[in-house]
Amino acid sequence: MNIIADLKKVATKSPWLYRINAGSCNGCDVELATTACIPRYDVERLGCQYCGSPRHADIVLITGPLTARVKDAVLRLWEEIPDPKVTVAVGVCPISGGIFRESYAVHAPIDRYLPVDVNVPGCPPRPQAIIEGVAKAIELWREKL
């Protein structure tokens, strides 16, 4: 049993990230790209890696207020991510709808449709805040494994 626990500890050093844009204004997305890809923040230090396929993901970062047209695609995509996974809502839009909440075309908050684990408010949150959110997500993920 101990070996399993040790291996799990090892496994949490490899959280792969996947981002879903649920109709965001780009702000959070650009910041996510910045956080994930550039030397200044280098999340690869934490073993994080951006993946192109939802099936490879462990931590899913959702941005945007969940627009009517993208809703089904987002929910289907989220289903395709194999368990155990941790969901992080990035920016105020998915968390509460933010500035767009009262629109006819917006379905936020996103936790009405799928379980969210971590919220990172901001408009957009700065990369360091996103890293903090990811760190929180990794902790939760360890428990889920």
């Binding site: 090892v10 050093k13 030397p39 280098d42 690869e44 230090r45 073993g47 396929s53 490879h56 194999p82």
Partner: protein, 320 residues
């Protein structure tokens, strides 16, 4: 009996199997670390590929609804791993390990080296995703492009060794290694330089790195054939790719530079050589160029590598 045990050991423990896997993962880790440094980043820990593999073990494997068949979908990576295990046992380590003839020779190795490509093609088509299909056709085009020059290069080496030893051709890697250990490495032999040049292009294409990572290009076809794989099945691909790195690099060393002392120092020397080769031949290349388009890559291979490869064969044939 002992012979069979030794055979099993060669495939599963050393130099194939466990050893090749761990070393392959370490090579990948080194590649990522060095790439990060070249890009001005800290980069992941050396053991990151190992962590990734463990992680994948804990995840669930999902078989897509569009998949052509579960057996094919899950069997493909397994075949690839087995092929690479055998291939790893086929690569001699100068002064340390010579594969038993019963396992096969250079020709068998060439065939085995095609397996990962074929596996990716099968995986791509079995996943039933349109991106997988595009990945399939790209992988096929790329294999067509790079296998030609490779065969010519191998033929040149086989001829050079065979004639040097007074015979016709030899496809025994052990003999090729031994010949060079007594007559000097082909890397230092001007007659073989075109072959070396052609082989250099083969590396990135076969290992699927930029500029030839076309079948798996994340930004074009997502991850192509691997798109639909998850969990342990994806892990098998990672294992396959780690083993393949060892095989391909080891093959290069065996073909052109099998220079090393005997025994444990030989092994250390070999490991260092492999590392240097990985960094110079793979890491530096992939951080300093962009991706080609499949038609550009195809045209490219039909030009320079093929030219070099053909030249190498011609030169060897003329010089004798």
């Amino acid at each position: 009996m002992t012979n069979q045990l030794a055979l099993l050991a060669a495939v599963f423990v050393f130099p194939g199997g466990l050893f090749a896997l761990l070393f392959g993962l370490a090579l990948k880790g080194a590649d990522r670390r060095v790439a990060a440094r070249l890009q001005g980043r800290v980069g992941p820990p050396l053991a990151q590929p190992f962590f990734d593999l463990v992680k994948l073990g804990f995840k669930r494997t999902m078989v897509p609804a569009t998949s052509a068949g579960q057996t094919l979908f899950l069997g493909a990576p397994l075949v690839g791993v087995v092929a690479m295990l055998v291939a790893a046992a086929l690569v001699p380590i100068a002064g340390v390990y010579a594969p038993q003839p019963i396992l096969g020779n250079l020709l068998v190795l060439l065939y085995l080296l095609m397996v990962p490509g074929v596996v990716l093609m099968v995986a791509g088509s079995a996943s039933g995703s349109p991106y997988g299909s595009i990945g399939f056709s790209r992988e096929m085009a790329l294999m067509l492009a790079y296998e030609g020059p490779l065969v010519l290069v191998v033929a040149a080496v086989a001829l050079r060794t065979g004639w040097g030893m007074g015979g016709t051709v030899t496809f025994s890697l052990s003999e090729i290694v031994e010949y060079q250990r007594t007559h000097g490495a082909f890397l230092l032999d001007p007659v073989m330089w075109p072959a070396v040049a052609a082989f250099v292009f083969f590396y990135p294409a076969n290992l699927g790195i930029v500029p030839f990572d076309i079948p798996e290009a994340e930004t074009e076809v997502l991850e192509g054939p691997l798109l639909e794989y998850s969990g342990p099945a994806l892990g098998l691909f990672k294992v396959m790719s780690a083993l393949k790195a060892v095989v391909v690099l080891g093959l290069g060393l065996a073909l052109f530079f099998p220079v090393a002392p005997n025994g444990i120092f030989g092994l250390v020397f070999w490991l260092v050589e492999m590392l240097v080769l990985m960094i110079l031949g793979v890491t530096v290349v992939r951080v300093s160029v962009g991706r080609m388009r499949i038609d550009q890559a195809f045209a490219f291979f039909l030009k320079w590598p093929l030219l070099f490869a053909a030249a190498s064969l011609a030169v060897v044939a003329v010089v004798g």
